[in-house]
């Protein structure tokens, strides 16, 4: 059976199937369809959805709700993502599982509200102070808007961090035929919640007991991810965006500060292989490797087909986990080629990552920032 569906509806369905029960957002094209649909759907399943006064409040409400036991989603586009910035840092610091959809439009600033772009690729990676790792997934078609939304919710719980779903105007607002049976349904894990140690409420008034037991965070070993301490459960919960120790008490002690910050790095970077998601279509005889992601991957699939039809050997790698960079898969794909072509709707943001890994190879970009899609023909041309 087939349906005609756009990326927004697929993301909404993916979120509902992943158990999302909280949404806060602020209207912005092309992300508004997600807001409007969830405002309608979430109350039906006991969830809460709200249009907040601005994007800062949207992500703030999501963070609060998550710590009170909800699975939260928010969705915006470049201008709104700019307003999320400081709270993205808070979610990283306080280790808040959260899914953030960035439906990219052409920037900078107001840019083109109904114009496609892929200009936020490095912005999601470095979009908040401090420089800590985040996870970002990029669906390459409507079907993947569904499955990667589920995956994003799963990764958010696994690593206790904000996970970006990077889509764009074209994916979210262009409907395509999807074979309903072909939706992949990656499992979404349940949240691990910190359990309290039996003690009377009276005991809670004692500082040493109330705060020290059980600590909401553990940084030893550095990549360890702790269960989430949730408000209204059987523990007292401390949460802070300031540099803190395992009890969430503010500290400046260098050893404790280092342990926290190393933990925030290690829990993600040392598990990059778990996050890595690519579509490798490698041809042993190919001299050229194409790399693309998101909506641009559609043109690449088409171009590869046609080139092979013409008898040309080409390889293609579609990156679905943009951050952390799927280095293992990329290094394998780079082994036997002389040339890499990176196609993206920006001035070459992801190409930088490929250049880093493809030392000694010729790396070139196919780029557009005119609000139009990169065509299969342009990619075929680049293969010559």
């Amino acid at each position: 059976m087939r349906e005609l569906i756009d990326g927004s509806a697929a993301i909404v369905r993916g979120a509902l199937d992943a158990g999302c029960d909280f949404f806060a957002g602020y209207p912005i094209t092309p992300a508004s369809p997600i807001l409007m649909q969830l405002l309608r759907e979430l109350p039906k399943v006991g969830g809460v959805a709200i249009q907040a006064e601005d994007e800062i409040a949207s992500i703030g409400m999501c963070i609060g709700a998550t710590l009170a036991g909800r699975r939260a989603l928010t969705a915006t586009s470049g201008p709104g993502l700019s307003l999320y910035s400081e709270n993205i840092g808070l979610a990283i610091m306080g280790e808040v599982p959260l899914v953030i959809v960035d439906v990219q439009r052409l920037g900078p600033a107001t840019g083109g509200a109904t114009t496609v772009g892929q200009g936020d690729v490095q912005f999601v990676r470095w979009g908040t102070g401090g420089g800590y790792p985040v996870i970002a997934l990029a669906p390459s078609n409507v079907q993947e808007c569904y499955s990667l939304t589920r995956r994003a919710f799963d990764l958010a719980e696994r690593f206790r961090c904000p996970v970006f779903l990077l889509t764009d105007k074209e994916l979210d607002m262009t409907a395509t035929t999807v074979e309903i049976e072909r939706y992949e349904r990656p499992p979404v894990r349940a949240r691990e919640v910190l359990a309290g140690v039996a003690r009377s409420a009276a005991g809670a008034a004692d500082a040493s007991v109330a705060i020290a037991d059980p600590p909401p965070y553990r940084y030893e070993p550095a990549d360890r991810v702790s269960p989430v301490a949730q408000y209204g459960g059987d523990t007292l919960v401390r949460f802070t965006g300031s540099t803190h120790d395992e009890r969430a008490l503010i500290t400046k002690a260098p050893a404790k500060v280092a342990a926290l910050n190393e933990h925030l790095r290690a829990k993600i970077e040392e598990h990059a292989d778990e996050i890595e998601l690519v579509e490798s279509d490698l041809d042993a005889g190919a001299r050229t490797l194409f790399v693309a992601y998101g909506v641009t991957a559609g043109a690449l699939r088409e171009a590869v087909d046609r080139l092979r039809h013409e008898g040309r050997a080409v390889s293609a790698l579609i990156v679905k986990s943009l951050w952390p960079v799927p280095e293992r898969a990329l290094r394998t794909a780079l082994l036997d080629v002389d040339r890499v072509v990176v196609a993206e709707l920006n001035h070459g943001q992801y190409r930088r990552e490929i250049e880093r890994l493809a030392q000694g190879l010729e790396v070139r970009g196919v780029n557009r920032v005119d609000g139009e899609l990169i065509t299969p023909e342009e990619l075929m041309e680049a293969a010559r």
């Binding site: 059976m1 087939r2 349906e3 569906i5 756009d6 369905r13 509902l16 806060a24 094209t29 649909q37 309608r40 759907e41 109350p43 039906k44 399943v45 809460v48 709200i50 907040a52 006064e53 601005d54 800062i56 409040a57 703030g60 409400m61 999501c62 963070i63 609060g64 709700a65 998550t66 710590l67 009170a68 909800r70 709270n87 808070l90 509200a113 109904t114 078609n141 074209e170 409907a175 395509t176 035929t177 409420a201 809670a204 008034a205 004692d206 500082a207 408000y231 209204g232 459960g233 059987d234 523990t235 007292l236 949460f239 965006g241 559609g298 043109a299 139009e372 899609l373 065509t375 023909e377």
Partner: protein, 443 residues
């Protein structure tokens, strides 16, 4: 979710850590009253969340044996709102400075207007203590701060009047010296609405020395500004989290929107991707007619991409619908060169100039009678809605034209278009009549 417990009232909700504030700072006094209020309320400390803002006042949560949230400057109300919406049974108490009410002004208004059930204690010391005594939104006129060396020139924000006039259910103003402050805080928490207490106090490090401020000047400033103290508002409007739940109850359990499956029932002879562009104007039913073509294609076992372009001001300007129809999955959804361009308005046609320029001899352009056929290599055909045996309203012209185009092209059976039209019962009769009228016109 909640663990039921019998709560033993606590002797104190403070932990043993001493406050970090400067000697004489009003913050400690207010926190002692907050503690006394919690003792009066006898709440389970796990069900109390103190959400602190940033500033010296923002340090407060660490000294309480309740749950706590310490987030970003000015945003405490947003986290508190999220917590309350998720768990309306929790008591959520925001502790913020006057600085927070400035940078987070939009949240103050949003929360008041929703009358969300959180309690906000404003530790109002007329300046930014933590960052070195700069002026805030509440600094009185003429007051000297590190950023108003010649005296403040801005008018202070009347926090209470602002939230009161915008829907806050409970508004009170007083000072850290008030004997009944604990009872006030307890009363505000019990009120289960957006309750704000504007608590005036002294920053002994900055505001006091530069303005000779004292307990006494708090009272004179109040008079000078023409403001009032005490309970200023006690409204009974519905609280948001409760109102949301009551509203949600009405749709609870209703099925969420699922896939609207389209089962192939016809066959198409199309053997390659086909790109159709319909160029018209707002209000012309371009999108809905083109949608029927997309669904007809799916009913005929084809794969489709459906892309609509129109200005943000939806009721005016162009309306372009692009449809890719293909015997296999459509991977690339763009159309740089259409196989067919149907122009139903000059404005739409103008928008498609680049696509038109790319069209070749084998491609086809259809224009409605009256539209100047553009210079093109493609074969141009004129469609005349006046040839229809029935009078077509403006909204039916596009479907009329599309039916004729599909008949010309021949790869998509028109019964599929009729079947697509039947999927929308409300418009089915009119749409079917339009399709039939188109087919009745001789070729």
């Amino acid at each position: 979710m909640t663990t039921a417990t019998t709560v033993t009232p606590l002797a104190t909700y403070r932990n043993r850590t001493p406050y970090p504030f400067c000697p004489g700072c009003g913050h400690g006094a207010i926190l002692d009253h907050l503690n006394a209020a919690l003792v009066k309320l006898a709440l389970d400390p796990r069900h109390v969340v103190i959400v602190s803002d940033i500033g010296c006042s923002g340090l407060s949560d660490q000294y309480f044996a309740t749950s706590a949230f310490h987030g970003l400057h000015g945003r405490s109300i947003t986290y508190a709102t999220g917590i309350k919406l998720a768990r309306p049974d929790l008591k959520v108490i925001v502790v913020m400075g006057d600085g927070g009410t400035g940078i987070g002004g939009a949240h103050l208004l949003g929360a008041a207007r929703r009358n969300i059930g959180i309690t906000v204690l404003v530790f109002n010391n007329f300046n930014f203590g933590m960052t070195g005594g700069q002026h805030s939104t509440t600094t009185p006129p003429g007051a000297v701060t590190t950023t108003t060396p010649g005296g403040n020139l801005e008018r202070p924000l009347d926090i209470c009047a602002t939230v009161a006039v915008n829907g806050a259910g409970y508004v009170w103003r007083g000072t850290s010296f008030d004997k009944d402050l604990a009872e006030r805080i307890a009363d505000a928490v019990r009120a289960e609405c957006f309750a704000l207490l504007d608590i005036w106090e002294l920053c002994t490090a900055y505001f006091v020395p530069s303005n000779h401020a004292s307990k006494k000047t708090l009272a004179t400033t109040l008079d000078d500004l023409g403001l009032k103290g005490g309970l200023l508002e006690r409204g009974e409007h519905p609280e948001y989290a409760a109102a949301y739940r009551a509203e949600a109850e009405r749709v609870r359990g209703k099925p969420v929107a699922g896939p609207r499956a389209i089962e192939p029932a016809f066959r198409s002879t199309l053997d390659r991707p086909f790109r159709l562009v319909v160029a018209g104007s707002a209000g012309g039913k371009v999108r809905s007619a083109a949608r029927l073509v997309a669904e007809a294609a799916m009913l005929a076992d084809l794969w489709v991409a459906q892309r609509d372009d129109y200005p943000i001001t939806v009721k005016t300007g162009h309306s372009i619908s692009e449809r890719v129809l293909s015997p296999r999955e459509v991977r690339y959804t763009g159309i740089s060169r259409p196989d067919v361009l149907l122009a139903v308005s000059e404005e739409g046609l103008a928008k498609c100039a680049r696509q038109l320029a790319a069209m070749n001899a084998g491609d086809r352009v259809y224009v409605l009678a009256g539209i100047e056929p553009p210079p093109t290599r493609a074969q141009v055909t004129t469609i005349d809605p006046a040839s229809a045996e029935l009078k077509l309203g403006g909204g039916r012209v596009v479907l009329f034209a599309l039916s004729q185009v599909l008949r010309d092209l021949g790869f998509l059976p028109l019964v599929a278009l009729e079947a697509a039209a039947r999927r929308y019962p409300e418009y089915a009769e009119e749409n079917l009549a339009t399709i039939r009228a188109a087919l009745a016109v001789a070729r």
